[in-house]
């Protein structure tokens, strides 16, 4: 192992981290170049199946949510939010939306990626969050760009066949819409190949996040937060599967070499909500100094899974790619009700050996957050695991207080010690 560790404990810049930076740079450069050369540009919500677009010759896609997260992580989130607010958008609206609207309305100024190329089509879905439909409607009206809404029934229980058929029908309409707008013909074989790539990428990504099973954990959730970006910008590409394979390999090698992000790990924590993008390094380092590690998160664990579970769904069997994508249309956390989310959390608590839960009550994401108070009660009552709720906004640093958050997280660590003392007594 010749790799040089570049940072303090808690957050490690690895070879895969550098490769990630290159991939993201390439993704955004290719996006701008493609748009500049006349490609058809689609803006999508995060769980719109972009594998469909890979079935076309010259369609490129941009993911505003991912761009907003990147902006927040690069420290320009607040600046972009303020632009949207000065245009009349309430500070109570999701900070991703405000960052994106602020960026778009200022022509990409201050964006780490020079913004996103103007879309020809907007595609959203309402099961991850319906706010996103309203957010895309802003551009639909301001720029007169068509907006395709994929209507996906919310899952209080497992996906029904009837729901899946309805979703597939909408995919077919989406394909027809793009064919009509571009004159290009969709190739099912290429989408099938992209689905294979995505499935393999998810499998390799699962290998990576399962490095958290070991004691001490081979990763922090902060590592997995940053590695999510290409899941959105490169999905369906062979490069993504290769990247995650190398990432998992590299992480396993590091663990064999005795390199762990929190070597003296005493507290194994689970994070419930979107990443606090503006706090990644600060929070991970400060927790590491307390020998605490947020080893897993509902936000990242759900990749490659469905039904609110965190377990890998299955390898793609080469069947109808649209059926497979419709099955995966419910990937993510937010399309699920409390029962399914709690089921997944219970599994994670066992699988990762979780000592405590951190519920990040996120003012910007109501769909994720409004049920956490009850989830917290169930975690305590049913699983007997201590937890804490902290106030966070995933991308607007003005709505976060580090000291308040850490007072509570330190109290959580004390609770974990108290539980251990009782068990030891």
């Amino acid at each position: 192992m010749t790799e040089k560790r570049e940072t303090s404990k808690g957050f490690t810049k690895t070879e895969s981290g550098k490769r990630l930076t290159r991939m993201l740079t390439d993704d955004y450069m290719n996006l701008h170049r493609g748009a500049g050369e006349g490609a058809f540009v689609v803006w999508v919500a995060i769980i719109v199946p972009v594998e469909i677009f890979r079935g076309f010759d010259n369609v490129v896609f941009a993911v505003p949510e991912s761009h907003a997260a990147l902006s927040a992580a690069k420290g320009v989130g607040m600046l972009q939010c303020e632009k949207a607010e000065s245009s009349g958008y309430s500070m109570d609206i999701c900070s991703y939306a405000r960052i994106d609207i602020g960026t778009a309305m200022s022509g990409g100024k201050d964006s780490p990626t020079f913004g996103l190329p103007r879309p020809h089509l907007l595609v959203s879905n309402n099961n991850n969050c319906s706010l996103l439909v309203k957010w895309f409607d802003v551009y639909h009206r301001e720029w007169s760009v068509p907006h395709f809404i994929i209507d996906v029934p919310f899952c209080y229980e497992r996906q029904k066949d009837r729901d899946r058929a309805y979703i597939v029908a909408q995919y077919r309409d989406l394909i027809r819409t793009i064919e009509a707008m571009t004159g290009q013909k969709w190739d099912a074989g290429r989408t099938r190949e992209a689905v294979h790539n995505s499935s393999e990428a998810a499998r390799q990504y699962k290998r990576f996040i399962d490095c958290a099973v070991s004691r001490p954990s081979g990763i922090t959730a902060f590592d997995s937060f940053v590695q999510m970006a290409p899941l959105l910008t490169s999905r369906g590409s062979p490069e993504l599967a290769s990247h995650f394979r190398m990432l998992a390999d590299e992480t396993e090698v590091r663990m064999k070499s005795g390199l762990f992000p929190v070597p003296g790990e005493r507290y194994r924590l689970f994070w419930d909500n979107i990443a606090p993008w503006h706090q990644l390094r600060k929070m991970s380092t400060r927790l590491a100094d307390l020998d605490a590690n947020i080893i897993a998160a509902s936000y990242t664990s759900c990749v490659g899974s469905v039904e609110g579970s965190y377990e890998f769904l299955q390898d793609y069997d080469d069947g109808d790619p649209l059926e497979a994508l419709a099955r995966m249309q419910n990937f993510s956390v937010c399309p699920y009700g409390m029962e399914l989310r709690f089921e997944a959390m219970s599994w994670a608590a066992r699988h990762y050996g979780i000592d405590g839960f951190v519920f990040a009550s996120n003012r910007s994401c109501k769909v994720y957050s409004i049920m956490q108070m009850d989830l917290q009660k169930r975690v305590a009552g049913t699983l007997g695991i201590p937890s804490v709720m902290i106030d966070v906004d995933h991308a607007d640093v003005r709505k976060y207080s580090e000291e308040n958050a850490f007072v509570r997280m330190e109290a959580l660590l004390e609770s974990i010690d108290a539980v251990r003392s009782r068990k030891g007594a």
């Binding site: 245009s87 009349g88 958008y89 309430s90 109570d92 609206i93 999701c94 939306a97 309402n126 969050c129 319906s130 706010l131 439909v133 309203k134 957010w135 409607d137 802003v138 639909h140 009206r141 301001e142 395709f148 809404i149 994929i150 209507d151 029934p153 919310f154 209080y156 009837r162 058929a165 309805y166 029908a169 909408q170 309409d173 819409t177 009700g337 409390m338 029962e339 009550s361 003012r363 109501k366 769909v367 957050s369 409004i370 049920m371 956490q372 108070m373 009850d374 169930r378």
Partner: protein, 369 residues
């Protein structure tokens, strides 16, 4: 907990032997429930009905809208225990979490309620055919209600129920016109409409008929009341209505979700609930919560302003209602282009009586007009 009309109404209905189902959000399948002998009560605009949020604060963070917090507060209260079931359809991100929050809260109290759900397709109607999908959902809903209450659906009774609700809608339109003419205050009009949601439709009709009769006997105002349109997911609190009128503004039309958006268009008069509700939702008045309709809202507001000769628009912003707050900047921009001023007010959960800070803005807006 302070509970008024709503719990009184449910208690009286229960004493008469009726089964009562609480419905949310705004546009539930009330005719269907009614035709099956179950009284639907729309649990919306509960600000004067549920004054304490203590119960919901055990389940929901303070950054949820007051609609969700009061809904949970009511259903989990002792008065809520009088309900025989809950019916809901998909709307916003907050409300979709409510069924399980309510169910868990009820479990904690050792209570249980049948829950009926229906998914209203939100894809634009010219985009994807959703009729078959929706029809299956309606049939499932009918079977669910039949099974829960041991009742049988009848097309004839359904048609009768549709006609009754349409009669109620027609009277609401009539009363709105009287309010626009200044023959009944907008505050009183809003109260009559809101309280009607807590009554069986037959009583709602009687209340509206009485309100129309009384208002019709009042002479139309011949002042030059500055006409405004009010828009929002909820009507203004009574104190805001009073402040608007005190400032010399007259509400000549509304685009309020629980008012004109609810009664503005009759349901198709048929005995087939699939045909009725397909038409009902497809051709609904534009509403921010019905994603596929909201494109039409800008035009609907412009038309209303022109038809009613309104001089301005007042937006009643329900704090934390993302749907509304993402639409208003664009609507405001289009109004500016038409030289129609707008005033955006924000009402939070505890602001119903605390309107002094808004009064100055309302007065300044009235002077501007």
């Amino acid at each position: 907990m302070f509970v008024s009309k709503l719990s009184d109404s449910i208690r009286q209905l229960k004493q008469k032997g009726f089964r009562v189902v609480g419905c949310f959000p705004l546009y539930p399948t009330v005719e269907l429930l009614h035709s099956l002998g179950v009284i639907p009560i729309v649990l919306w605009d509960l600000k004067d009905q549920v004054r304490s949020l203590e119960e919901s604060d055990c389940h929901i963070q303070g950054f949820a809208c007051s609609v969700a917090r009061r809904l949970a507060g009511f259903v989990l209260s002792d008065e809520g225990a009088l309900l025989d079931g809950i019916l809901m359809y998909n709307a916003c991100d907050t409300l979709r979490n409510m069924p399980e929050i309510i169910q868990l809260g009820l479990e904690e109290k050792g209570r249980d309620l049948p829950l009926f759900r229906i998914h209203v397709p939100m894809a634009p109607r010219d985009q994807t055919g959703s009729d078959d999908y929706f029809a299956a959902g309606i049939r499932e809903l009918v079977r669910g209600i039949e099974s829960a209450f041991d009742v049988r659906f009848s097309p004839e009774r359904f048609l009768e129920s549709v006609k009754l609700y349409n009669a109620m809608r027609s009277l609401a339109v009539e009363l709105e016109a009287l309010a626009a003419a200044g023959r009944v205050s907008y505050g009183l009009f809003s109260r009559v409409i809101r309280d009607g949601y807590f009554l069986p439709v037959e009583e709602q009709i009687l209340a509206l008929e009485e309100a129309v009769r009384q208002a019709s006997s009042v002479k139309a105002r011949d002042d030059d009341g500055r006409g405004i349109i009010v828009t929002g997911i909820l009507p203004p609190p009574e104190a805001v209505c009073a402040a608007l009128e005190h400032a010399g503004l007259r509400v000549v039309g509304n685009d309020v979700a629980s008012q004109a958006r609810s009664y503005g268009r009759p349901a198709a008069e048929t005995g087939d609930p699939v045909a009725c509700y397909s038409d009902f939702y497809r051709n609904h008045m534009p509403c921010t919560t019905l994603l596929y309709t909201s494109d039409g809202r800008v035009r609907a507001i412009h038309d209303l302003i022109r038809e009613r000769n309104a001089r301005g628009l007042v937006f009643i912003g329900e704090k934390f209602c993302d749907c509304e707050y993402l639409e208003m900047p664009f609507i405001g921009k289009t109004l500016s282009a038409l030289d129609v001023p707008d005033l955006q007010l924000e009402i939070a959960a505890d602001d119903a009586d605390n309107v002094e800070s808004l009064r100055t803005r309302i007065e300044a807006f009235a002077e501007l007009l």
